[in-house]
Amino acid sequence: MEALYKKANILYIPALALFALFVAYPFVDGIRIAFTNWNGFSRRFSYVGLRNFVRLFKDENVRASFWNTLLYGFGSTFFQQVLGLSLALFLDKKFPGRGITRTVVYLPVLISAVIMGYMWYYLLQYDGALNDIVALAGGEKRLWLSSAASAKSFILGVNTLQYCGISMVIYMAGLQNIAPMYYEAARIEGAGEWQVFRRVTVPLLYPAFVTSITINLIGGLKLFDIIKALTGGGPGYTTNSLATLIHSSYFASQMAGFAAANGLALFVLILAITLSLQAIFRKIEVQS
């Protein structure tokens, strides 16, 4: 049978061919560009060795974007788990309006991130909706996106709200997979609500945790569209993620080689974090 299955390997050749052409080849070429001082459009350029990579470590903006990337990645993920799990628990019992709530919370996931960013912009403009409420409440109109801290918070917030539906849905499915008999067994032994949660729900939700965290984390680390729509990486350079920095280094600053080196670094970062996470998850699973 095994030998027969080996013959079936032909079936994945078309897919591999596409990957080789549209992913592998550009990836390798991207690495080559990282060793040049190309400006992105001229036919003239030269090879400059490791200069771009060295610059990655020295450049202030790269450092700031690096921390922002971690902030957006881990920050969004954390809040999305909290929100998602709370919503899933909240919607676990039947009540009128339950179905609608689930529908509405998940809806933003299906909206293009670019468009969502633009929609939030109406809220955050100086003459926008949020300032209207603030003014009504007697406060002073603020420029919400013009301080680094405030802008980053909003980027985090918008991203969290838009995609918390994903974790909510995953946890809902996870909760439904827990057979009622586990709850009953725990209650018979006299466990209170919190203990039931800790001892029964959490461990049995483990696969859901792993999946939800991984999906949210990769998405958060690659964050691009919302940042571009809300702040463009500004004010100055302060809200850039590595992804938006790559984009502006390439197109605005005309440093294609540097952008390529940055791109490579981002890929390695995401890979490293994901692999470490997998290892940690496996360890926890083994321990319990």
Partner: protein
């Protein structure tokens, strides 16, 4: 569940829904107001300015954009389903070293940020004369949506008992015959999931479309909407109207076919 107990839940639910819907509500009110209406974004328009929608369609070439997006989405989704199901079969059945490597390679593609590949990919497409063509952008979408689809199909096929394959062999079927006659018909549920995930991803794509579909006649919906917002001096009300029109199809489909959408997300998640 007594009435009183479900009331606070009901109220909380309303608050939650309201928060999620705020950006949509604001965009809607802006879309329905004429340029001269300077009232707060929260206030409902005094007179609905449907003309904004008409102008959005006109100057954004939205009809053309919708047609383009639909065509590209349909083609990409069909190809993804076809190629992913094929690729998943051997990967699911044979755990050989080669296959395990291929699987890992496929998964790692999902971690590559699009920007890292942008320029070399663009240069490649130009040499292939694929820029601003339907087939060019379709192949790009297929290449980047395949990994998730392959992952889903693989996991699903693993749950189909091998005994079915073996029985077919005894009946004299070739391995390809097994795939075509035994496996394929059983893939309906996961195929629906893949169709939904891929279609949404391709429909909402912005970055690849921005660089690979430059001719105005080839624009997709996300590009048209973005050009409304990006051009300084343009009317924000028309832009908002465009945004509403852009999200309308997916929203309507979702409302009516919820079950499949949500199931899609869950399936791709839980192993």
């Amino acid at each position: 569940m007594t009435r009183r107990a479900s009331l606070p839940r009901g109220v909380a639910a309303i608050v939650i829904c309201a928060i999620q819907l705020v950006p949509l509500y604001i965009t809607l009110t802006v879309a329905l107001k004429p340029q001269t209406d300077l009232s707060s974004y929260w206030a409902l328009p005094v007179r609905a300015a449907w003309s904004n929608f008409a102008r959005a369609v006109e100057s954004g070439g939205l009809i053309r954009a919708f047609a383009n997006t639909a065509a590209i989405t349909a083609a990409s989704t069909a190809l993804v389903v076809l190629l992913a199901a094929m690729a998943a079969y051997p990967l699911a059945r044979s755990g050989s070293r080669l296959n395990k490597t291929v699987s890992s390679f496929v998964l790692s593609i999902m971690m590559v940020p699009a920007l890292s590949l942008l320029v070399p990919l663009y240069v490649l497409l130009v040499r292939m004369r694929a820029v601003s063509t339907y087939w060019g952008i379709t192949l790009v979408h297929v290449a980047f949506n395949l990994p998730l689809a392959i992952f889903l199909f693989t996991n699903f096929i693993k749950t189909i008992p091998r005994e079915l394959d073996e029985a077919a062999v005894i009946d004299g079927s070739s391995i390809y015959g097994i795939y075509y006659r035994i496996i394929l018909p059983l893939l309906k549920p996961v195929t629906v999931t893949v169709i939904i995930l891929t279609s949404v991803a391709v429909w909402n794509d912005f970055q690849y479309s921005l660089y690979f579909l430059q001719r105005p006649s080839m624009r997709v919906v996300t590009l048209s909407i973005s050009s409304f917002f990006a051009t300084s001096g343009s009317d924000p009300h028309v832009a908002a109207a465009g945004a509403i029109l852009a999200i309308l199809p997916v929203t309507l489909l979702y409302v009516f076919l919820q079950r499949y959408f949500v199931k899609g997300m869950v399936d791709s998640a839980l192993k």
